[in-house]
Symmetry: D3
Subunit: 67 residues, 6 copies
C-alpha cells in the first residue's frame, strides 16, 4: 500500500532503467517493512532541466557551465 | 482552500473527463467539509505507463502481458 | 491504480468525514474513468494553519482577523 | 536541504522566469531560515490548463469564458 | 540530485527501518542511473491510518475488519 | 492560482518564519510571473529529521556526527 514518488531530471532514462527503479524500490519496501508489493505504487516524474534547481540555479545552466 | 492532486496513467482521458474529476472532487469537499469551492485547487498529473509501477513492474509491462 | 492526495487544514475533520472523502473520490474515479477501486490509493494530509498560506498570509492570521 | 515544489499552469513561462523562481526561493530560504543553498532543491511543474481546476472548473474553461 | 518521497502508514516504523529505506533507495539511484548520492534527497511521510484509503475505505477500517 | 509546497526539516521554525516564507514566495510569483496572490496557495511540510535523508543517511545521524 505504500506510495513512492521519484523525481529525476529528464535526461534519457530508459524504460529498462525506470523498470529497475520500480522493481528495486518495491523490493526494498518488502525487505525493510514487510509491505505487500501487489499494492505498492511507484510514480516516476521526469523533470526538464530548466525546471530543476539546485544551488539557486537551474540544472540547464549548471550543465552548460560544467558544474 | 483545499488542494487536491490526482495522479492517473496517461491513457487518453479527455478534457471532459478531467473537467468531471475537477467538478466532482470540488463538490465532494463542499458536501463533506463545507469547503469554499472558489479557493479549492485541483491538479491532475497524467503519468506515462513506463513511469507508473504497481506490483513491482511498470504498467506498460502489465498491459502488454494482460495483467 | 490512481493516487489521490488531499491537503486540507487541520481543523478537526473527523474519521467519518475523512472516510467520506476516501469513499467519494474513489467512486468518482470509477464513475468518470472506470478505474479499479481496489487499487485506488487516497492520502489525506492535514496541515497546521500556521503552515498554510493563501493571499500571502497564513490561515492562522486570516482566521484571527476574520478573513 | 529544503525541497520546494512549484506548480503553475503551462502558459509560456520562459527559462529566465523559471530561473528567477529558482534563484528567488532559494535566497528566501537562506534569508528566513539560514538554509544552505547548495543543497536546496527546487522543482517546477507546469500543468496543462485542462488539468488545473479552481472553483470547480478547469482553467481552460475559465480562460475561454473570461474568468 | 534526485528527490524521493515515500508515503507509508504510520504503524511503528523504527528509525533504523527508515534509515534503511533512505540508504537503500539512494544506492538504487546510484546503481540504476549513476546519480550522485550526496545530493539525493529522501523524505518519508508517515500517514495516520484514518487518513489513508484503499479500496474506497480507510486503513483503520480495513485493519479492524481484518482486510 | 499557483501552488507551492515547501518541505523543511522540523527544527523549530517559528510561526513568524513560516509567515515570512508564505509572504515571500507569494510575492516572488507576483514579481516573476504576475500571478494573483489571492489564489496562490502555499503549504509548508515540516519533516522529522529521522524521516529526511541526504547522502544516503538520515539528518538525525548527520547532526549527531557533526555533518
Amino acid at each position: 500500500m505504500p506510495y513512492v514518488n521519484f523525481k529525476i531530471t529528464r535526461e534519457g532514462a530508459t524504460a529498462e532503467q525506470k523498470a529497475a527503479l520500480i522493481k528495486g524500490v518495491t523490493q526494498l519496501l518488502v525487505d525493510v517493512l514487510g509491505k505487500n508489493p501487489q499494492t505498492t505504487v511507484v510514480v516516476i516524474d521526469e523533470v526538464d532541466t530548466d525546471n530543476w534547481g539546485i544551488g539557486g540555479e537551474s540544472v540547464t545552466v549548471r550543465r552548460r557551465d560544467g558544474r
